[in-house]
Symmetry: D2
Subunit: 338 residues, 4 copies
Amino acid sequence: MHMAAMIRTAILGASGFVGAELLRLAAAHSAIWPARLFGDSHAGASLPAVHPHLALAYPDLVVERYASEALQDIDLVFAALPHGHSQAIAADILDRGIPFVDLGADFRLDDAASYERWYNEPHATPDLLGRFAYGIPEINRDAIRDAKAVAAAGCYPTAAILALKPLLGLIDPGTITVDAASGVTGAGRAAKEETAFCTVDGNFAAYGLLSHRHTAEMEMALGGSILFTPHLAPMTRGILATCYAKALGPCDPLAALAEAYAGEPFAHVSERSPQTKWVLGSNAAHLTARYDARTGRVVAIAAIDNLVKGAAGQMIQCANLMLGLDEDAGLAKVGVYP
Amino acid sequence: MHMAAMIRTAILGASGFVGAELLRLAAAHSAIWPARLFGDSHAGASLPAVHPHLALAYPDLVVERYASEALQDIDLVFAALPHGHSQAIAADILDRGIPFVDLGADFRLDDAASYERWYNEPHATPDLLGRFAYGIPEINRDAIRDAKAVAAAGCYPTAAILALKPLLGLIDPGTITVDAASGVTGAGRAAKEETAFCTVDGNFAAYGLLSHRHTAEMEMALGGSILFTPHLAPMTRGILATCYAKALGPCDPLAALAEAYAGEPFAHVSERSPQTKWVLGSNAAHLTARYDARTGRVVAIAAIDNLVKGAAGQMIQCANLMLGLDEDAGLAKVGVYP
Amino acid sequence: MHMAAMIRTAILGASGFVGAELLRLAAAHSAIWPARLFGDSHAGASLPAVHPHLALAYPDLVVERYASEALQDIDLVFAALPHGHSQAIAADILDRGIPFVDLGADFRLDDAASYERWYNEPHATPDLLGRFAYGIPEINRDAIRDAKAVAAAGCYPTAAILALKPLLGLIDPGTITVDAASGVTGAGRAAKEETAFCTVDGNFAAYGLLSHRHTAEMEMALGGSILFTPHLAPMTRGILATCYAKALGPCDPLAALAEAYAGEPFAHVSERSPQTKWVLGSNAAHLTARYDARTGRVVAIAAIDNLVKGAAGQMIQCANLMLGLDEDAGLAKVGVYP
Amino acid sequence: MHMAAMIRTAILGASGFVGAELLRLAAAHSAIWPARLFGDSHAGASLPAVHPHLALAYPDLVVERYASEALQDIDLVFAALPHGHSQAIAADILDRGIPFVDLGADFRLDDAASYERWYNEPHATPDLLGRFAYGIPEINRDAIRDAKAVAAAGCYPTAAILALKPLLGLIDPGTITVDAASGVTGAGRAAKEETAFCTVDGNFAAYGLLSHRHTAEMEMALGGSILFTPHLAPMTRGILATCYAKALGPCDPLAALAEAYAGEPFAHVSERSPQTKWVLGSNAAHLTARYDARTGRVVAIAAIDNLVKGAAGQMIQCANLMLGLDEDAGLAKVGVYP
């Protein structure tokens, strides 16, 4: 590996699931090199101690406590932090002119009032909101390519928006329901009874009834009035979003999806009902849709891996665009199936 | 055990999952005795060979090929057969005057045209349809108690109908969407690639888009126009039905559920979002509901064990009513959790 | 229910998994009534808040902080506490003359030095050790029946001892290896990263190499020199113990098991390789064994549900014996399969 | 991609799990191009119909019926067929001088009598046995590099041999026990009740007691007398082999493993007990070992992904060596965790 030519990358939140996934994907990327790893809760620990599955690829890396000075030789910043944290550091990163891909919710919404309403706290740096492009390349590629900062979309919104955005001329956006199921990695690494094996195994339930914050992103991108119900499924990875809306009239939503995503490297449209395991570990989104003449409604379905297309993979896809690399560098199109 | 006083019961379909579950529940029932077991595909086999988990309770039972004559000393017939099969034998059982609880789809719909439309074949004995009571005790108890024949409801309809029936005055039935997830036992015991471990483990997908036959039962019981999307979840048992509809106005659907099911032995209404594993192995249904003022819609959710409240347990609950036994005889209210 | 005739039972550790399981089993028991529930970490909470799956059976019970005075009207004490805790309260319970079944490790070993060696702390009440019978009815029924106090066996030892005890004349006890896999409930309810869904799902690993404390119980009951390696399997319940030893000569270990357990209500011996799900939720143990002429060794295998035959079920089985009830009262012989 | 420079590869058994995995890995390989896919049971089908997860990478490939003529422009043959099938075609492939990596059991054992004993049929081409190198690079690298034909090792033997081979001077090979657990992909793609989701989910059991054919490979590579007990674990992928033997004396088996595998690209030795999910989807093997002074025995443990290091990945690793490519080309060292 010619490290001199590599893009020196800092990962904030390196001890979490998304941090680990960024490192896994970087190991297969020809240009992105994880130069500095930040993770306050595990600061000082060797990476193999924090993520044993990464031991063979990165035997010598160490997790550090974050400090602004550490960014001085950095060419790219990835942040995967709890919401609120990026607001405290974004100005510094942007001032340094370092390309920045943030996965937190801090800069996804385009207006501070919406942030405050859904996150129950005022936005600390509302003036920066306009400097972030919303990070779903399939619907916002040009803006991402030109941006210095990208707010990668949430996992559920990525699935729902990919399924519904091309159908907006066919459906009544005031009637959208998004019913989605997620694997447990969506809840993060911290141990909680809600995500303990004995709680989740063989179990299926809805959560966050009426109040899940990703509703805001979906309404920003799709307009209309969206009722979103997330469910926790007994699986580690994957999101399936099953989306419903009243049709404006007889229509062919499958053709609309196929047309919208023709030539896309990571979006696959098919008549087959997508399965989350088909995309496990990959950056692919599998999609289908139907018009139901009996009820006059449309169903559109998307499957993604929440940690890849819904997080680390989309971050790298965005970074590839920002840096002028091949958009698919380091990203698999093929799931680890079965 | 005083076998002389026991109700001599025949089980048709004894080698399948529902047959096994009837036997499991019968082992804890003070009055129901499985006298004859029928299952053509395993005829001649000992029960422990067909269902090893039942070996300690029934070391000596044998599965037989079905023959009408075998019913002569029988006091109760349970049938858990693929749809179509019960039509061929129901007249004989009814003529003999034996109480009959059928789990097939054959006698659930109240009109033959609807059966033909959803099952793609004419009904063979439409004149018998009127002699079966629809088997969900919580909404049809008196009719079941008086009936000689009961068509126990399907698994998905049981969940959806329990969640929505008490809300019919609050919602527009023309806007109902039922989005449900089922454990894999719902697909039966026969080995298929679709239900292989490697296919389902860590996977989540919708199936039967627009066309699942249980839609007919839901529309019969609830009226309106229902779009039903079933999903296969990576778990053995359990159904969660998440049901949506436009509200007629601001309302309190949770109170409506609580009022409807006050005093019910197996229906539990709570503000908590129900989890399928809470009811595993039991005949319980856990329910909740919400009115969303933001979108003007209602969400109602039910969790059941598809093999118990959605099949064998409900059959026994119906039989208990028909035979004048305690309604909860042999039936657990408590799930095997975790 | 005639509560006047019920055995008023106190459960210590009611908020844990074993506490919940005792309550689930008690709901099907004709004589055991959970009169008082103790659990310091959840003191003051209603039982449905602590264990939602028990809501329909026990809508009104409340968890209390433990106090000795609360035992005054109690007829039976079950304790399922972390090791060390029972030593502090056993003398009081025994002085009151209340039958006591303890699941902790405190009183299982017959000598205090062994306790200190494996648990790294001196035993606080070594004089009480002799008053506890070791609680595996199949190998110690008479002592249990006569005892006022029983130390129910550990989950792994129950499986290994049932598999090996009848073979002691056929094998060299100095060569025993016990390789076992357990479901995750064996690790208790407290949230830990080691037992998080994302850690365990799709994963299999050994733990506690060379040092698992249950080794001491196995050596006490079987003699010899035992190397025990536990594994964590991605399942909620169940233990499979695969046990190896050098044979003293050609032998028929399957016949030895069958003879030892003939007539036992909960032990099933078969040529079929036992599966943990066959016994899920039941008090059954399924067993098999082989002599391998090629290597001169014996393999013996037992499957149990760690929360039932390995914990709460065995406690109730012991209590039934102590109280002169039917040994199988309240205990299923049939697993919840599939 | 410069397809002119690619190695035109034929895959026999392309519709199975190993075939799919070869295709997944080839999609990330800079030199191996799947030019022809053979799979009689799915002949004529498009690859996306047979393996939907591969649709984005290979939209246009088709599965064909095997014919010798189809090999004329082929540079490399991978075969993943049921045992017995490779014997019928190996001579043709070898005569054509095409490098051949076979995953079947046909050419793994070095003597035909052993094949006949364990596979219950005479070997059809015993004269070819000597032309195959046994395919575990870590223990046989030079022979593989020089060979035109390689018999890639079985999944269980790969794990057991990696764990034990470096310890042969420290243990008595006459006392080896291999107790292993496998994910369900090890049983192949064909639908069977034994590998149905409802059978395996939440279940753990041993199978093939005393008679698993992989015993022969282990004894060939390790010598001695091996008792091997495989178990089926409720997970899709992964093998954990826990291996036991009497030590010849006090020893440091962990140091022996570390020394043996220093510098290996895919073998990671650590004091941590290896977990199968750490290596999921990767070609890595994680290993540990202990000497137990109390019993005088050694425990050695290896974790691999049965479909990668135990099958497709090892095949590609061998092909890389045979063709003079980088040994790790196309192969991940990092598991898809969690």
